[in-house]
Amino acid sequence: MALTTSTSRRVRSRQLVGSGPSAWLAAPALAFFLLFAVIPLIGVVVLSFTSWDGLGEIRFDAVSSWARVLTDPVTGNALVVTAKIMFFSFIVQAPISLLLGVFTAAGQKYRAALAVLYFVPLLLSSAAVAIAFKALLDPNFGLGPGLGLPALAQDWLGNSDLVLFVVVFVIAWQFVPFHTLIYQGGVRQIPASFYEAAQIDGAGRIQQFVNITLPQLKYTVITSSTLMVVGSLAYFDLIFVLTAGGPGYATRLLPLHMYLTGFKANDMGAASALGVILVVIGLGLALLLQRLGGKNRNASQLEGA
């Protein structure tokens, strides 16, 4: 009985590989994608060639919005801030979540308990995280004065040189658990036989990590890095609540600049142009990271397992 089912399943799966599932199965997803991604995107491109304050008539204005956006020093600053946050977020988050992921992937009970604790920040909404940190970082009523530790009572959110790193820290606090989870899943898929073989060969822990875990996690690293890098183009809610882009323009990154241009300054044309820039950068980065992963992504990593 068991034998027949497994053979028939194998036969069926071979048929599927041959013909592939019907293309119609993609239709619902495609319809949603068209409706909620492609059509609005076209709308944004069109709006970027108009000037509109959100209330009156939409007037076609050729490239004036683009000229305004591209000559505005604040746009350049927003790009620099975005790049900085992307870079530092990656540098901080990637190693921490890789190590935590490897640590929590092992079976011991205390590690499982810790994994649950690490997971908690992910359950909180970004706005809640930002409000909590804003209160904790208050130089007069926050964590520092509360605990009597003057070293913690810095001008965290008001010092233009410091604030970027505070933002990177809070982002990491919120998103490291997510990437830890991805790495944890990746590590758990590595066959135990690899490690057994390595142990027989006399490899130590660090050698095992460098020669087995890391190479086996190649695609996990790419997935997680793509999410980190492209995701940092979408950081908005947390920074909006935490600093609102301030002090000055110190944390006004591209998505925030787009929002403030559109909904505070009511310049929808310029905001749409910024939106288009954001989409182009995001797609470019995602493509680049996929390329870095090598062309033949279907090649098995488990050969010889």
Binding site: K134, P139, D155, L157, G158, G246, N266, D267
Partner: protein
């Protein structure tokens, strides 16, 4: 077993996520008693004036079930974005809550709000009940598009009397006296001024008053009128320089640009004695009355006009701040909604009951002839002070971020932030702001 645990965990996660998203949805205000599709809709702001507005509308709805108003409340910043989007999409409320100034102008330019001049002519008693200086803020090109709906909110210099007694100081009458107080307080380990710099708009109050005292109301009137290079007026440069002098002298509390005014942290510094003074809007009196009742009740809270500046042209009695909030009537509302809305404006607002409720909350209604009511209030000293300030002011300049177009206001706040942080010189500020004129 393991799968069971996993499933339980997944369920818990989903439940938590769901409850978060659900709680985000259920925040609509209480629905009016018998409202229909043709009932006027009104969006108010949460916070200080919420209770009074709710009471007023409730009693109107009770007395006029056929013209009942459907009232919802929103948080300040969220409201500003939401209402504009809604009005632009033709989904706005009948009553549009506003501050006058640049935003009102954009509504008028887009033909979204009713011209109320005719209504005022037919109902002179409505026009006569308001303080004239306040009513003017709802006018544009000689026509009235918005009517004041609550209390006057001038910017006031508050001080902590205990702290002043401790160092033997007196509230400053001139800018030089103010600067002389700074080292005195610092020597006593007290910050001279509290400032909610993270919120940016409290910074603006300093610039507004300094420009007013140095150059008089015309300087900003020119800026608001979009005259080319209006920011180049020497009064602006001098005001910015004086702000930076005060920053250099350590006038503002350490870490002021991390302090958020939205969480009332700046006023908390005043009543806890960590700071001696704060320049803030009239509305924080209501907040302090609630957060530090003993401090206010025992007369420890002092308040005075912004000091004069030597050689300045501005009348020391001139005031800056928010004259009031306003109702505009949406031009996209149905005839029934408009009629009901105007009836409410005529006989539902500033009734005896409404005026008294405003006074009891620690606010000064923008209507004439309330001196005796104010004198009977437990907050009579402060209320009479504010009322006198508003009534006797030769000029009442609307907060600049409200008066300017949204694009200019946004740029101004971000750049002023840099002035306080000394990341920008007054010259840079002026040339950047000149470039925004007309936007």
């Amino acid at each position: 077993m393991k799968i069971g645990k996993l499933r339980a965990a997944a369920f818990a996660v989903t439940a938590a996520a769901l409850s978060v998203s659900l709680s985000a949805c259920g925040s609509a205000g209480p629905a009016g008693s018998a409202t229909t599709g043709d009932s006027p809709t009104m969006w108010g702001l949460t916070g200080g004036g919420q209770q009074v507005l709710q009471q007023t509308v409730d009693s109107w709805n009770k007395a006029h079930p056929d013209e009942a108003i459907k009232l919802d409340f929103f948080a300040n910043d969220a409201y500003k974005t939401k209402v504009r989007t809604a009005v632009g999409a033709g989904q706005g409320p009948t009553f549009i809550y506003g501050w006058g100034g640049g935003v009102l102008k954009s509504y008028v330019d887009a033909g979204q709000v009713e011209d109320l001049s005719g209504f005022l002519k037919e109902n002179p008693e409505v026009k006569d009940r308001y303080l004239p200086s306040v009513l003017k803020s709802g006018e544009l090109d000689g026509k009235t598009y918005a009517l004041p709906n609550n209390n006057v909110q001038p910017v006031v210099l508050y001080y902590n009397k205990d702290v002043f007694d401790k160092v033997g100081a007196r509230p400053p009458k001139t800018w030089d006296e103010l600067m002389a107080l700074v080292p005195k307080f610092k020597a006593a380990g007290i910050a001279p001024f509290s400032l909610g710099g993270q919120s940016k708009w409290p910074d603006l109050m300093w610039l507004e008053y300094l420009v007013e005292r140095i150059g008089g109301p015309d300087v900003f009137a020119n800026i608001a009128a979009n005259k080319p290079n209006a920011w180049s007026d020497p009064a602006v440069a001098e005001a910015l320089a004086r702000i930076q002098e005060l920053v250099d002298a350590g006038g503002f509390i350490n870490g002021f640009s991390s302090i958020a005014a939205d969480s009332n942290a700046d006023q908390a510094l005043l009543y806890t004695g960590k700071a001696a003074m704060v320049l803030q809007g009239g509305w924080i009196y209501q907040g302090m009355k609630k957060d530090a009742p003993d401090f206010v009740k025992n007369g420890k809270l002092g308040y005075t006009n912004f000091p004069t500046v030597e050689g300045g042209k501005g009348d020391p009695a001139n005031v800056v701040g928010n004259p009031s909030n306003f109702w505009s009537i949406s031009s996209k509302a149905t005839e029934g909604q408009k009629k009901a809305a105007l009836d409410y404006v005529k006989s539902g607002m500033f009734t005896e009951e409404n005026t008294q409720a405003l006074i009891d909350s620690g606010a000064v209604p923008v209507v004439n002839g309330i001196e005796s009511k104010l004198a009977a209030s437990p907050d009579k000293d402060f209320l009479s002070f504010v009322y006198g300030m508003a009534k006797d002011a030769p000029s009442f300049t609307l907060s600049w971020d409200q008066a300017l177009s949204p694009a200019q206001g946004d740029a101004m706040l971000a750049n002023l932030d840099q002035i306080f942080l000394k990341k920008m010189t007054p010259e840079q500020f002026i040339s950047t702001m000149n470039a925004t004129i007309g936007k």
